[in-house]
């Protein structure tokens, strides 16, 4: 026996049987889902990172609140680096009745160092641009719309009039993809002449440098110790990290959805393989009888699988890559710059995972074939020893665990997810078992075809559970994203109090407090809250250099090295809750500190610990007296660290305020003119932007979840194929006894509609539970009721789709000739 020839021949003969086709389809689906998601994620990430330099506008940025001494630019020049100065400040533009707050960048040529800067002229034609000539501004579309102007129009900025020289088409973004205010670019000399950069104005000075990588590194090393207080270096890595952080959560979500599809496909593979093995049993027994060795038989079987897997995985790869290309084209606007090159690692990994899924899930039943006794040829009932447990079944479980671990990329997350999956599995199992028992009870009370259909479902319990589980899992994921998520966001928005702060105001100087308060009162602003703000650095904890409780925490990294914002207040501010200890006293002997719970966890802080902070020239050692929980969704200014008022008052500080003002418009423009150093932030715009991003991510994820639903349906079809012979005989018997075709259809529809209902009910229960947990834990909504009507619609829809799929799958069976029964006998 030559295994390869034999394998090729059997594959050709057997492909028309449902199980090999199912196996191939499952593989195609698993590889396609993984390849599409992993490749897309990697390309988007690559694009974001590659664009970091473009977004930053240079290879390195120095930032400070005062103009940087000239020796910085001189040093850059000495190192052979190009550099340019950029001053940023918020300011309001006026045109007749209209006004608009914008992020102004005043630059000197050459601009930009990195990235593309282009504007559209009055005819909408795009040109590459430089620093605008004197007397001219370039502005974002949003500014032009708000001011009711076109290119060529005239605006007031500071105490001068300017002409709009063009509409910004693309410009470096300073590494901030979540920029709020629209941009205006102007000439640096103009900004000085218009009195926009005078003392008291709220400017951010930047020096951007670009050039040879080593020279940039040398410059960074030189500049670091010489930076003025509050100064900051932003490297490419920093800019990348910002972007990456924003992207990572969405990405891990997508990867998990793809994994779910792969695992469900694995179930379909296992079902098909089992059936394949059962059918092969007789053939193997005969071959053994005729003298084939175990090794030869196994080799032939494995080769047959491999011959099937190779083209299936390749087809999956092609499908997946095609899909991700399509998504990339369709969502092109999401990505800056040209589409990044196709990476080779993710498709390769998807391919490997496809093979692992096949062998992991298909090997156990096939390896059993090795043990088939040749005697089976004579007596059918020998050698079908049923083993309840097989070590080999750990193989698919192991592959599954590996997939999750790879996808999560982090051991703890993997464990959590694994436990989550297992938990859902157990709950699905128990719930499904109960529901099937209910089906059985109901079936006993029904008649004829209906009873027969339902009884069928209850009898094939293991298979029904598997199908229900696979469908329920994918439906839950869909219901959470499609129904529960949006309803939560909606409810959360609706739940916001009508006077919730919608404006934020920062950089208010202490002496401006009273006049500003009076002004806000005059404007009719409500819910005004004002808190001091001091910016410092973490120096030590209990006299030691601060050390993170968890090593790879990015948030912690910035807590150790970045700025820390401090505040103080006589009483516990709203949206804060004391968990432990007491609120800092008014006049304590030693400085006292209240720490937010999450921040405390970063460093393993507890009451009694001493935290050393430096603010400006001052250093302060405060004792932690309480831990707090903060509702970050409250729209009030909130702080990780809050001192006692006496200690705080001694630190250099400004104020932040939040307030509610319904129709802001011109009144705020006037306010911003009178308090030029103060920055206003429109929270409505932030909310809209957040919603927009969440919406897009959700959409992308829903697409990927479509894969897992497909995989769920595939499991259904695999199970259907596994029972096809049995169903054919039963249908023929019923026909013989005089059942009409309609009655057979009713039986099948009842069976699968019940299956869909069971799966749908589990999914709705799962989605509703998840929704309630999210509502309490994340959104802090009391008494959130999941939208039962849309969820019920999902159950019914699922039942309908599953019933239809089952019915179509058995159409051929219902047409079975009654004579088949006699022939079987």
């Amino acid at each position: 026996m030559r295994p390869l020839v034999f394998a090729a021949r059997s594959l050709r003969r057997e492909f028309r049987h449902a199980e090999l086709a199912t196996l191939a389809a499952a593989l195609v689906l698993a590889v396609a889902a993984l390849a599409a998601v992993a490749t897309l994620a990697s390309r988007v990430e690559h694009a974001l990172l590659a664009s970091a330099a473009e977004l930053l506008g240079g290879d390195l940025a120095l930032g400070a609140s005062q103009p940087l001494p000239p020796e910085f630019a001189a040093e850059a020049q000495r190192l052979g680096l190009a550099s340019h100065r950029l001053v940023e400040f918020p300011s309001v533009l006026f045109a007749g009745e209209h006004s608009k707050l914008a992020d102004v960048r005043a630059t000197a040529a050459p601009f930009p160092l990195r990235g593309r800067f282009s504007v559209r002229d009055a005819h909408g034609v795009e040109h590459a641009a430089q620093t605008p000539p004197s007397g001219t501004l370039y502005a974002d579309h949003a500014v032009l719309v708000a001011l009711g102007l076109g290119v060529g129009g005239s605006v007031q900025l500071g105490d001068r009039a300017f002409v709009i020289g063009g509409e910004i088409a693309s410009a470096p973004d300073n590494g901030d993809p979540f920029r709020i205010a629209p941009r205006v670019v102007m000439n640096l000399a103009d900004a000085e002449a218009a009195g926009l950069l005078g003392p008291g104005s709220r400017t951010r000075q930047r020096l951007l440098v670009a050039g040879d990588e080593r020279a940039v590194a040398a410059f960074a090393a030189w500049a670091k110790p010489r930076l003025p207080a509050g100064g900051r270096i932003t490297t490419l890595a920093d800019a990348q990290q910002n972007l990456q952080g924003a992207f990572e959560r969405g990405e891990s979500f997508l990867r998990l959805a793809a994994l779910l599809a792969a695992l469900l496909s694995g179930v379909a593979v296992a079902l098909a393989a089992q059936r394949f093995a059962r059918r092969k049993t007789d053939e193997v027994a005969l071959l053994r009888c005729l003298g084939a060795g175990r090794g030869e038989i196994l080799a032939a079987l494995l080769l047959e699988l491999a011959l099937l897997a190779l083209p299936a995985c390749l087809a999956g790869l092609a499908l997946g890559l095609g899909l991700q290309e399509l998504v990339l084209r369709l969502a092109g606007g999401l990505l800056p710059g040209a589409p990044p090159p196709l990476p080779w690692a993710p498709p390769l990994a998807a391919f490997a995972v496809g093979v692992a899924v096949l062998f992991g899930f298909a090997l156990p039943p096939l390896l059993r074939l090795r043990d088939v006794a040749p005697l089976r040829v004579f007596r059918r009932d020998t050698g079908t020893r049923v083993r309840r447990f097989d070590v080999l079944y750990l193989l698919p479980v192991g592959v599954g665990a590996l997939l999750v671990a790879l996808g999560a990329g982090n051991a703890r997350l993997a464990l959590t997810l694994g436990a989550g999956f297992a938990g859902i599995g157990v709950v699905t199992f128990v719930l499904g078992l109960g529901l099937l028992r209910l089906v059985r009870v109901i079936a006993a009370r029904l008649h004829g075809a209906l009873r027969f259909g339902l009884a069928n479902l209850a009898r094939r319990r293991a298979l029904s559970l598997l199908q229900a589980g696979a469908l329920a899992l994918s439906l839950t994921a869909l219901a959470v994203l499609g129904v529960v998520g949006p309803s939560l966001l909606e409810r959360w928005r609706a739940d916001l109090p009508p006077d919730r702060p919608n404006w934020f105001l920062i950089n208010l100087q202490p002496e401006q407090r009273a006049p500003l308060q009076a002004r806000l009162h005059e404007l009719g602003a409500g819910n005004v809250k004002m808190l001091p703000l001091a910016v410092g650095k973490l120096v030590a904890i209990n006299g030691q250099a601060p050390k993170l409780a968890e090593a790879d925490d990015r948030r912690g990294e910035s807590a150790v090295n970045g700025e820390i914002r401090l505040s103080w207040s006589e009483a516990l501010p709203p949206a804060n809750r004391l968990l432990e200890g007491h609120w800092p006293a008014l006049q304590p002997a030693q400085p006292e500190l209240s720490v937010e719970r999450g921040w405390a966890r970063l460093f393993g802080l507890k009451p009694g610990d001493r935290v050393s902070l430096s603010v400006g020239e001052r250093e302060i050692v405060a004792t932690v007296t309480s831990l707090r929980e903060v509702d970050w969704t409250s729209f009030h200014p909130n702080f990780f660290l809050m001192l006692d008022p006496a200690s705080g008052a001694g630190l250099p500080h400004s104020y932040v305020a939040s307030f509610h003002l319904a129709a802001a418009g011109d009144a705020l423009a006037a306010l911003s003119r009178d308090f030029p150093n103060v920055s206003l932030i429109d929270l409505n715009a932030v909310l809209d932007r957040v919603r927009d991003i969440v919406g897009r991510v959700t959409q992308a994820v829903t697409w990927v979840l479509g894969f897992s639903l497909l995989a769920g349906v595939l499991v259904l079809l695999a199970a259907l194929a596994a029972t096809a012979d049995e169903r054919r005989i039963e249908a023929a018997l019923l026909r013989t006894l005089g059942a009409l075709r309609r009655q057979l259809s009713v039986a099948v529809l009842a069976e699968f509609a019940a299956l869909g209902l069971v799966a749908g009910a589990i999914a709705v229960a799962g989605a509703a539970t998840l929704g309630s947990v999210l509502a309490r834990q994340v959104f802090r909504l009391d008494g959130y009721a999941p939208p039962l009507l849309p969820l019920a619609a999902i159950v019914l829809g699922a039942a309908l789709v599953v019933a239809l799929a089952g019915w179509i799958g058995t159409l051929r069976i219902a047409r079975a000739a009654p004579l088949a029964v006699l022939r079987r006998g």
Partner: protein
Amino acid sequence: MSERTETVLTATQVSKIVDGPDGRLTILDDVTLAVARGDSLAIVGASGSGKTTLLGLLAGLDRPSSGSITLAGACLDALDEEARARLRRRLVGFVFQSFHLLPALSAEENVMLPLELDGRADARERAGEALARVGLERRRHHYPHQLSGGEQQRVALARAFVHAPQILFADEPTGNLDQRTGAGIGDLLFALNREHATTLVLVTHDGALAARCAHRLTLRAGRIDGSGA
């Protein structure tokens, strides 16, 4: 019995030809027969002689290539498969060699099936009676896999007679059973047949069982063997 013997089943010059891989194959060739009401006919013959094929044609499970069959006054040629199904469930009972109980249904539910397919309301009651008649009233709620072969065939007999069919078709009903159990099933089959005055068409290998029928017909390679009977 009435003086005039009324025929309930006739086959006239029935042939069955199938297309095999090596050309056409005649399985049944020019078979003509008639069975009177309440009569019993045994069809015997070697394996492969066409017995099952003939039974299937007589019961309306398949169509002959030529010739015609009349069942309880209805000409089967004129009826489509749905109409024949309707006819079967009212007039015909079946017993098979390998029992063919539905594994999803309990013994009682299996027996109820023909009545329910016909939309009868008293199905459960009548099924209970039928099971009691075959001595299985205490196994009503058991499933096929919980019953022995002989017990399964008794359930099948209950199912075959529960709707009092005019005519019963049995294809080697004892073929899968040991001799003693087979004999018991044979006894039960003929007892029920007498009680219900059912017309019986029985395919069997078992000479003793065939001998209990009023008439015998031997098939040889698809033709009626005239030397038998």
